[in-house]
């Protein structure tokens, strides 16, 4: 603990009735009061002063040029990155060739049988239907490309993640070192990962796979480590008492006992990989994401939908199959399981042979593009304006921009630069530790140092507004879901589906409804973050101690009173978690919103990629990472019981 905390604790008894949080806020306020006059006198009170920024554009631009000039000659590229790149491309190609050789019948049959063996009949039907629809929509080849990329990326992510997780699970020191890194990576928007790999590998499939791996490996590593560390101490001791070697302990006890976490890790890795594989179309990943990207850049909602539907179906299929892992087949004998696998393999081979390894037949496709576009045009014509009473989507977008976003942005941008880090630190310290407070303040300051203060405040205003909307809607829905079983039953499958969607997909409908600008980005962000918020809050409300609720009811509390005075206070931890999740998720979409006119930092990344101006992109990417880190830490309630003692 820092001396600051000790000081605060020491003076505690003398101060009358101040909560620890209030004490900390006061402390930060005092520090700010001390610094403010000096800072204001020296550099003024507007936005981050130019004197305190570092310009990295020059050096970064030179690094970029150097890499491009030396990519075909320097040993670092020839003997290291080159092999990585070639191995990735070779692997993707191998998988793709196999998928093509299997043909549409083979792949569909294989996927369904795999789903059946892993997760049961329902998953198999889902897989069958999904692949059939992909074919019907004329998206067979892009689907196979995305699948090939995914197979490689997921395999590498799971391997890398499992190894890291193993190291962190077995060694305390590694765990302590790795944990903050993994936590941070989980809070960063996908977009921030794209630029570094492009810098080294250029545009193409290899960097796309690598970005995907970097994005998808952390959950696997995290869950593996947690699973291994969470092994029942009693079991571990019993196993040790029988004279096992450490290796035997790992293989026969710790890993099998961590099975649930490992499978969850695989599932999460797959879902993250899909999300990233789609976004990586911006750096040349090809496949379904590329189709969406192409369609979005021409506002062809129909084409975007035709490519978006297979992504959604792929997501559902992958999720159902992998989250159902190990649910069935527990009690089957080994021979029977082998026989079933053999049957499945044989059926796949037969289907592949029967279809002669062809891609989806041309005649068997349905074109939904023009119909969708007509529907969209109708929607825009009829919903964008003049619905009596409530206006239209375009009106909402305008009002949201004019009445919410603009004032907020002005307010943030006119906050004195020296005050912002202190405000952030105070907020973070109020619910977290001095560590989170320091991290968030430093992150914010770093944005200023990088010279991205203005766009960062713009992005921040969009995030805050969208988070507010998300929380209001999310908590309202969660309350409804927690109070009525029926609402919950209806909501659950919807949330399940929404939570597995890649972020990219949400951009399609919002562009149709809200046009272009910051409002659609906000709408997409709200829709993307809503499921997680609803789920966490409703779970928190439901888990409220039934005894406490019962006693409140026995005292004659009304429904509202129960909610306000019992359920919400008891669900405090979940509410804080919901805020944290909302912030992280909203930020990731607001950034992608740069593709549909969201502007600010997201736009700068897109700009950097589009112009090959990686210096701009990397600076913006770093600023995004800092913003993400700051937002995550500010909203992260501490889990350590460290400050219980001074309460």
């Amino acid at each position: 603990m820092s001396t600051a905390t000790t000081a605060a604790t020491a003076t505690a008894p003398r101060r009358p009735r101040l909560s620890p949080a209030a004490r900390r806020v006061l402390l930060v306020a005092a520090a700010m009061a001390a610094v403010a006059p000096f800072a204001a006198a020296h550099w003024g009170s507007g936005m981050w002063p130019g004197a305190l920024t570092v310009h990295l554009d020059g050096p970064l631009g030179r690094v970029n040029d150097w890499i491009i000039d030396n990519r075909d000659s320097h040993w670092l590229f020839l003997y290291f990155f080159g092999h990585i790149s070639n191995a990735v491309v070779g692997a993707v190609r191998a998988v793709y060739v196999v998928l093509l050789a299997l043909g549409w019948a083979g792949v569909t049959a294989g996927a369904s049988l795999l789903a059946w063996r892993l997760a049961g009949v329902r998953a198999a039907v889902t897989a069958l239907a999904s692949f059939a629809v992909c074919g019907l929509l004329g998206m067979w080849v892009p689907t196979m490309r995305t699948l090939a990329l995914m197979v490689v990326a997921v395999a590498v992510s799971v391997a890398v993640g499992a190894l890291l997780g193993l190291a962190a699970g077995l060694s305390d020191r590694t765990f302590r070192a790795l944990r903050p890194v993994l936590d941070t990576m989980q809070a960063l928007p996908a977009f921030a990962y794209l630029l570094p790999v492009v810098l080294v590998f250029g545009i193409g499939v290899a960097p796309a796979v690598l970005a995907t791996v970097v994005y998808a490996a952390p959950p696997m590593a995290r869950l593996t480590a947690l699973g291994l560390r969470g092994t029942d101490k009693g079991v571990l001791e019993a196993v040790t008492s029988l004279g096992t070697t450490p290796r035997q302990r790992l293989l026969t006890a710790r890993l099998p006992l961590a099975r649930r976490e490992l499978l969850l890790g695989v599932n999460q890795s797959i879902m993250m990989a899909l999300s990233m594989a789609v976004i990586a179309s911006v750096i040349g990943a090809d496949g379904l994401g590329d189709r969406v990207y192409q369609a979005l850049s021409t506002v062809d909602v129909g084409a975007a939908l035709a490519a978006g539907v297979p992504i959604v179906l792929l997501a559902i299929t992958l999720d159902r199959t992998t989250s159902g892992l190990g649910q069935e087949g527990h009690n089957r004998t080994r021979t029977r399981a082998t026989a079933e696998w053999a049957t499945a393999a044989a059926a796949t081979a037969a289907a592949a042979w029967a279809a002669h390894g062809k891609t989806w037949p041309h005649g068997l496709t349905v074109h939904i593009e023009s119909a969708t576009n007509r529907a969209k045009d109708w929607l825009v014509d009829h919903l964008s304006h003049g619905i009596p009473g409530i206006g239209g989507t375009a009106d909402w977008a305008a009002h949201y921009t004019g009445w919410v976003l603009d004032p907020l942005r002005t307010a943030l941008q006119s906050t004195p630069w020296w005050a912002a880090p202190f405000v952030v630190a105070a907020l973070a310290w109020a619910i977290g530790t001095w560590r989170t407070a320091l991290t968030s303040a430093v992150s914010l300051a770093l944005i200023g140092v990088l010279g991205r203060w203005e766009p960062a405040m713009d992005t921040l205003s969009q995030v805050l507004a969208a988070v507010a909307v998300t929380l209001v809607l999310g908590i309202a829905i969660a309350v409804a879901a927690a109070r009525s079983r029926r609402v919950e039953r209806v909501l659950r499958p919807v949330l399940d589906v929404f939570q597995t969607m890649p972020q990219f997909v949400y951009l399609i409908p919002v562009v149709a409804l809200f046009g272009v600008g910051r409002a659609p980005a906000a709408a997409a962000a709200v829709v993307y973050a809503l499921p997680a918020v609803v789920r966490i809050v409703s779970q928190g409300l439901r888990q409220a101690d039934p005894a406490a609720l019962e006693s409140a009811r026995s005292l004659g509390a009304t429904g509202g009173q129960q909610l306000r005075q019992v359920q919400f206070p008891l669900a405090r931890a979940e509410l804080l978690l919901a805020v944290n999740q909302a912030v992280v998720l909203v930020l990731s979409v607001v950034i992608i919103g740069g593709l549909v006119g969201g502007g600010a930092l997201g736009y700068e990344v897109v700009f950097g990629l589009a112009q090959g101006d990686l210096a701009t992109g990397l600076t913006a990417g770093t600023a995004i990472a800092c913003l993400g880190l700051m937002l995550d830490r500010v909203t992260q309630p501490t889990k350590a019981p460290a400050h219980k003692e001074d309460a």
Binding site: D232, G234, V235, E237, A238, V239, S241, L242, T244, R259
Partner: protein, 383 residues
């Protein structure tokens, strides 16, 4: 409660000359920063737990403990939670590394063993049964029982056959294919017991094995342990916080408080001659007549006529049984050992025992004083 009596018989039947299985001397376990300095420094060692925590941040779990476990006996370590008994039993196979002191198994130094020797000790010589079973939830009953053999590298067919035998022995035949989660607590602990037995260890260590079970099941399991001890002559170290259980299964009991052994002796000695007020408090509610034997109630033979009349009782007969015999005949009974009359029990003597007025007149009881050395205590217990 007849078992307590018979276990006394068992102990007496064995020759005390055999070397001990476990021999523990001056064992310390201190948790906390720089734990090693506490036992080494006399001043620190003399501090009370609270003072020590204040001064060094260390907690003492086991404090200068010495005892021997003899072959074939069931040695019970009893104490309330936090008394250090569970730490003590884990120190025996170094599941917890002792801070100082020596442990020997069959004369071999355990603390000096390298990893391989220690593993071999755990695999073949001492197996443990845990309070929360410690079963592997993803394995069947049979595979759990065979686990110990599996890690020793025993071939599949052989270990499964052996495991099946053990499963049968603990009365779980027919449940081999189940998983631990599908069993009741008692059944799970039977699996734990079978697993420990599968490697045919020299010593069985029990760490509060039955405290998580229902009373009825607990009793069944206790009988099972007594049977194992008596029939197979297995040496056992049994940790419990339940005095009744200690008296039922134990040949000798070491009573622990705050890391120290406050008294070590047969159940009869513990109940009949508590070493201090703490122990006395502890055993207050024990039905004395069911634990104490006629040895404690008898008086010297008064006259020759007394050696001829009255019922003949063995020295290990409990007071409860003696009361029955004396009440039935209406005359004092004789205590006879191998044809020799040791003494006479009459109403007066029996009532004194039941009323707890026998303490002072008994000579074999240990003097209530501070910390008799282990040596002397053991001698007394053996007498």
């Amino acid at each position: 409660m007849t078992n307590a009596g018979s276990s006394t018989t068992r102990t007496q039947a064995r020759t005390p000359a055999q070397p001990p299985v476990f021999s523990v001397r001056n064992l310390w376990k201190v948790f906390g920063p720089k734990a090693g300095r506490v036992p080494a420094d006399e001043k620190l060692a003399a501090l009370s737990p609270e003072e020590l925590r204040e001064r060094t941040g260390c907690t003492v779990a086991v404090r200068d403990v010495s005892f021997d476990v003899r072959p074939g006996e069931c040695f019970v370590v009893m104490g309330l939670s936090g008394s250090g008994k569970s730490t003590l039993v884990r120190c025996l196979t170094r599941l917890i590394e002792p801070t100082s002191g020596t442990i020997a198994i069959d004369g071999e130094d355990v603390c000096g063993m390298d990893k391989g020797a220690l593993r071999s000790l755990r695999r073949h010589r001492a197996a443990m049964v845990f309070q929360h079973f410690g079963l592997l939830p993803h394995r069947s009953v049979l595979d759990n029982v065979a686990y110990g053999l599996e890690i020793q590298g025993v071939a599949r067919a052989e270990r499964r056959a052996k495991a099946a035998e053990m499963v049968e022995k603990v009365g779980l035949a027919g449940l081999e294919g189940r998983r631990p989660g599908q069993l009741s607590g008692g059944q799970q602990q039977r699996v734990g017991l079978a697993r420990a037995l599968a490697a045919d260890p020299e010593v069985l260590l029990f760490d509060e094995p039955f405290s998580a079970l229902d009373p009825l099941i607990r009793r069944e399991m206790q009988d099972e342990v007594v049977r194992l001890n008596r029939d197979e002559g297995r040496t056992m170290v049994f940790i419990t916080h339940d005095l009744g259980e200690a008296l039922r299964v134990g040949d000798r009991i070491a009573l622990m408080r705050a890391g120290r052994v406050v008294q070590c002796g047969t159940p009869e000695e513990i109940v009949g001659s508590p070493a201090d007020d703490y122990v006395r408090d502890f055993v207050r509610d024990v039905p004395r007549e069911q634990v104490l034997t006629v040895r404690r109630a008898m008086r010297p033979v008064g006259g020759l006529h007394e050696t001829e009349t009255g019922a003949a009782l063995a020295p290990a007969t409990t007071v409860a049984d003696a009361i029955e015999a004396v009440a039935r005949t209406g005359t004092p009974a004789r205590v006879v050992d191998q044809g020799r009359c040791l003494g006479i029990v009459d109403f007066q003597g029996l009532l004194n025992v039941v009323a707890g007025l026998d303490g002072t007149q008994q000579e074999p009881g240990p003097e209530p004083g501070p910390e008799p050395g282990p040596e002397t205590r053991l001698e007394k217990a053996a007498a």
